[in-house]
């Protein structure tokens, strides 16, 4: 079976340009894809070049052959007279001496042959259809219809088409360029907005600090008279009071003190978080700090029949902030006292390495479950171990300790076992070096 799809008779040399495009169009209609299309069109160009050099091309015929699968797409280039020796090579059925274009076509296509007709000779190149399929007569009819609508075209059209495609590519490039410029502008705008937002945030942060400072002041002013007068009345300075009045006033005093420590902790934390804690670094006698802590908690110790043992050499000094060290240690000892009913608390010291000091505060409380350990240093997390309900605290103490220890270049953690007490430990550098960015304008 042979179904002719298109016959063209080139009249001028520009028609050869078209042959390539026709081959591509028809191959595309037959279902060939990218690589195959390129192979076919390249083969056509190569053969055409050779043939046109050696002889006069009479006509080109595009057809599909093959009775059953697979069908083959053939392109026959018919010349006037005979094909010259220079084209065919010395032996017709061998590649020896064959012109280079024909050799290339032979490699690119599935079939390549020279045919000798009565009046004409021709070169036929063929490509098996994709998936080795067979196309029916009716399918070929419709393809032929389609070909009629697109071919023949003038070579100028072809050039115009290529021009148009180039133009489209250029346009596309230009569009992309414009889009990039647009995105650049948007980016610049975003950067500006971010800068403004950043400045506003810094302002807001500043406002927050000022707000907290005045809040703290405003809250402490009434607390001054609340705590002052309760103290005066409890001391009997304003006259005698009965036991019930004393009991209730003591509750007022405790609540007032609790409120005061909440205010202080919130203020401290906000300062740390704003990077506004300035450390006062000096030579610190660690055991002297521990003794001060002991003095502070002494009343609570005797109330509960608890001993506090400090085992720190009297001459041990580190380079740190004495007030903050006391604050941390007092917080831990205060907790230890709070959660112990009787027994001995120990403040211990050791050296993990030459550059660090470690301090342990060991209590004899009921211990902390492993589930609760990670929550200890988070804000407003109060853990109530067995029978330890209602222990007053701000829920900020350990969080503040962690913030302070970190600020001072150290780490804090806790180890505990239920019913066996807890050990709160922290390490600090022997010699503090400030790596904080408190006063730096560097941005992350």
């Amino acid at each position: 079976m042979k179904k002719t799809l298109l016959v063209v008779k080139p009249r001028k040399s520009t028609d050869f340009v078209q042959v390539r495009q026709w081959a591509r169009d028809i191959a595309s209609l037959l279902g060939f894809h990218h690589h195959e299309l390129t192979r076919i069109t390249t083969a056509v160009s190569e053969v055409m070049r050779d043939v046109a050099q050696a002889a006069t091309v009479k006509q080109i015929e595009f057809f599909v052959s093959g009775q059953s699968a697979p069908s083959v797409f053939d392109i026959e280039i018919i010349v006037q007279g005979t094909l010259p020796e220079s084209l065919l090579g010395r032996k017709q059925f061998s590649v020896e001496g064959m012109a280079s274009g024909c050799l290339a076509a032979k490699r690119l296509m599935d079939a390549f042959k020279f045919e000798t007709g009565l009046a004409n000779e021709s070169v036929v190149i063929g490509k098996i259809l994709p998936s080795s399929r067979h196309v029916s007569e009716s399918e070929l009819e419709s393809i032929e219809q389609k070909i009629r609508t697109i071919i023949p075209r003038d070579p100028i059209d072809e050039l115009n088409q290529q021009n148009k495609e180039l133009g489209a590519v250029l346009q596309e490039l230009q569009n992309q360029q414009e889009k990039l410029t647009e995105q650049n502008t948007e980016l610049e705008q975003l950067t500006r907005e971010l800068q403004i937002a950043n400045e506003r945030l810094q302002e807001a942060d500043q406002l927050k600090s000022v707000f907290l400072a005045s809040m703290s002041h405003e809250l402490r002013t009434p607390l001054n008279s609340i705590l002052g007068f309760t103290g005066i009345i409890l001391k009997g300075m304003a006259g005698d009071i009965n036991d019930e009045q004393r009991k209730q006033l003591t509750m007022v005093q405790n609540s007032g003190r609790h409120l005061l420590s909440l205010i202080n902790d919130v203020l401290d934390i906000s300062k740390i978080e704003a990077g506004k804690v300035e450390l006062n670094i000096s030579t610190v006698n660690v055991s002297a700090v521990a003794e001060e802590v002991l003095e502070t908690v002494r009343p609570a110790l005797s109330d509960k029949n608890i001993d506090l043992k400090i085992s720190i050499p009297a001459d041990l000094t580190i380079n740190s902030d004495a007030r903050r060290l006391k604050q941390i240690l007092l917080n831990l000892v205060d907790n230890a006292v709070k959660f112990s009913d009787s027994g001995t608390l120990i403040i211990n010291q050791s050296f993990p390495d030459a550059a660090q000091i470690r301090i342990d505060v060991k209590d004899c409380g009921s211990g902390i479950g492993s589930d609760d350990l990670p929550k200890l240093f988070a804000p407003f997390q109060q853990i109530n171990p067995n029978g330890m309900r209602g222990k007053q605290g701000t829920g900020l103490g350990l969080y503040l300790c962690r913030k302070l220890v970190n600020r001072m270049g150290g780490e804090i953690w806790a180890e505990s076992e239920l019913n066996k007490g807890s050990i709160f430990s922290f390490v600090l550098p022997m010699k503090f070096e400030d790596n904080s960015e408190t006063h730096s304008s560097r941005r992350g």
């Binding site: 703290s216 402490r220 103290g231 001391k235 300075m237 506004k276």
Partner: protein, 117 residues
């Protein structure tokens, strides 16, 4: 009897300070703003001034500076509920002799002020 000028705008706190001082046998005169305080620092011949830092017109530190600029050497103790770093230094730089942080502790307050008398 030693006379103490208390500069305090909060009524309850003024009463508290006055109560503690009078209980300990001091004579108390009071000013509720900075301007009055400056006048009284000279007119009422106090032996000591207890100066609240936050006042309605000018603050306690401004007031202290003004009193010092008029060559008064009367001891001045700043009494404040501010607790920002540098407050103590600011108070001393303004010419205060001491600094007591609120809330006032009735147990120790008198002993603290008597250091400066």
């Amino acid at each position: 009897m030693k006379r103490i000028l208390v500069v305090e705008d909060n009524e309850a706190n003024l009463y508290l300070t006055r109560f503690l001082l009078e209980k300990s046998g001091y004579e108390v005169v009071a000013a509720v703003d900075g301007k009055t305080a400056v006048t009284m620092a000279f007119d009422s011949f106090p032996d000591l001034i207890i100066m609240d830092v936050q006042l309605p017109d000018m603050d306690g530190l401004e007031t202290t500076k003004l009193i010092r600029s008029k060559a008064s050497k009367v001891p001045i103790i700043a009494l404040t509920s501010y607790a920002m770093p540098g407050d103590r230094e600011d108070a001393l730089a303004a010419g205060c002799d001491g600094y007591i942080q609120k809330p006032v502790n009735p147990d120790t307050f008198i002993a603290e002020i008597e250091i400066y008398l």
